[in-house]
Symmetry: C2
Subunit: 323 residues, 2 copies
């Protein structure tokens, strides 16, 4: 059985039920689920104080389970950055651990990518969070099937690409580079520090939640003014969800934000990636070399296997078919 | 009469009344008030499109009034950064213009400070915004007297220091350096770009509004991880206002944020500066050399005159007396 450890690196689990439900469902999917001893810890708004959360991180890195999935995001990794044993994290990856999550997990994922000379040992997985995605009650819609299936195939090593539909205008685009990114606020929260990975020619994916488009635009402009956008081969936008219109927006929206950014950088900005703080999300390898291909409005982001055996050309998660 | 021009560099003036009221009150205070032609312009959520707002900025710089005060903040300067004629702004300052405001104005103020070799021609004024501070209706409390008096003395050139009370523990502290800072979100929104001023040994002041303490802490940690906090002689915190507690904060607060930061940097972090998105705020010269002195719990931030005649030792705005 595949050992899957659940841990809480950031925000406190306000309720215990979603974690219990997630563990039950992940067991039913065939995983040997282990809940880290401190996963339900509480200190202020955190899942345990900094020492506890850091200990959990290093404990899991040392145990090197097949999968290490965060229970939820929130705020927390930023406080740990200066004390993380990056070599221990990389070591666990070399031994087969797939670190999975999004939101605050972006901080761990990019901090690791910013460490020099790790190569494939810096690859982590942008994907579901246990409580948010596998702990969603049936009343709230239960587990999203695409999220579940894509995660399962990614973890088994079978998945080699994700697909989705984008806007017209990118037919024939081909981009090859390092896949990186995650939550926009977290990406920007590392700018100017040694934890911001200096990736040239990459494929940068971004999402956010509860951020008005003017804040999204300000963050994207900062990335532009920092030279980050121009240095990429492609930018892929996921979902920007749960923000509220202001009465004086008068036409200002995510659409105008994307249109404005497109006037500033020549790097193609694609929308439509099923990723973010929404039920349907793909699982993708952060730090891996990927090839992005656009055929008509169909986008394919493909990567090479690392731990899996041979190629598995039929394992492409074409979200377009479901959208 | 002293010419005071009001302009809108960022967010749209949703209502016209506060600007009209501000102009009337500033006239009554003895200023020759001019409202820029585009101050009431509207484009989406902005006070005119980028070209209009940029034209207004350069028009005012060319006219070089004694005072150029923003009507309000919002979001807008970030979009203009790459197109601002910094020499024109510096030129207006050399001719006596005092640019005044806070919030989004921080972007202009720090962007100017980041320009090389401007010296005193990069000095602007952190202080009131016309609509927010001079346009407040009588029902909402009217104009704050301290804000008004401090602004008047700063603009006349008479003011040479501001004072306030801080927490115990800093008695005898003395710090000399460049005063800089402003709105924390805006300060951080420039990190990693060429608009972030690389100031060593400065006195950094910060405030914010509508930001939960966890977001304030994340921004402060970013400044720390970027090496900015350690490089300063002192950090002075203004008001962090209008945020809402979350049920799971459980003791996490601005107090714990400040306490945590104090464990990470040796730079003294003082609280209590009357500045921010609150009625009572001092007016201070951003980019000026200041001396910060603490006597017991009384803090004095003093600067040297530039345009005024001789020293005026009685013109100290000791907010402590009012607090």
């Amino acid at each position: 059985m595949t050992l899957l450890t659940l841990f809480s690196p950031a925000g406190v689990l306000v309720r215990s039920a979603p974690l219990t439900l997630a563990a039950k469902r992940l067991k039913a999917l065939g995983f040997d689920v282990q809940i880290d001893a401190a996963a339900r810890a509480r200190h202020q708004r955190f899942a345990g104080d900094d020492d506890m959360r850091l200990d959990a991180l290093h404990r899991i890195a040392a145990a090197a389970p097949s999968i290490a999935m965060a229970t939820r995001g929130g705020y927390g990794f930023t406080r740990l950055l200066d004390r993380i044993d990056w070599k221990a994290i990389a070591h666990s990856i070399a031994h087969g651990t797939r670190w999975v999550g999004h939101s605050d997990m972006t901080t761990l994922q990019l901090g690791l990518l910013a460490q020099p000379k790790l190569g494939a040992d810096a690859i982590t997985w942008a994907g579901p969070l246990a409580a948010d995605d596998f702990g969603r009650s049936e009343d709230a819609g239960g587990v999203d099937e695409i999220t579940r299936d894509c995660f399962l195939e990614a973890m088994s090593g079978a998945l080699e690409a994700v697909g989705f539909r984008t806007e017209p205008g990118f037919d024939g685009l081909e981009a090859r580079g390092t896949l990186w990114g995650g939550n926009l606020c977290m990406v920007n929260s590392m700018l100017g520090t040694r934890y911001f990975p200096r990736i040239k020619g990459g494929v940068l994916f971004l999402e956010d939640v509860n951020e008005h488009p003017y804040r999204v635009e300000r963050n994207l402009l900062q990335l532009h003014q920092a030279g980050v956008l121009d240095a990429q081969k492609a930018i892929v936008l996921g979902e920007f969800s749960a923000w509220r219109k202001a009465p004086h927006d008068r036409g200002f929206s995510m659409k105008t934000v994307v249109a404005h950014l497109r006037t500033l950088t020549k790097t193609p900005i694609l929308t439509g990636l099923p990723f973010g703080h929404v039920p349907t999300k793909v699982t993708m390898p952060v730090g891996a070399r990927v090839t992005l291909l656009v055929d008509g409005r169909n986008v394919l982001i493909g990567w090479e296997h690392r731990h899996a055996g041979g190629p598995a050309h039929d394992h492409v998660h074409a979200h377009a078919a479901h959208a």
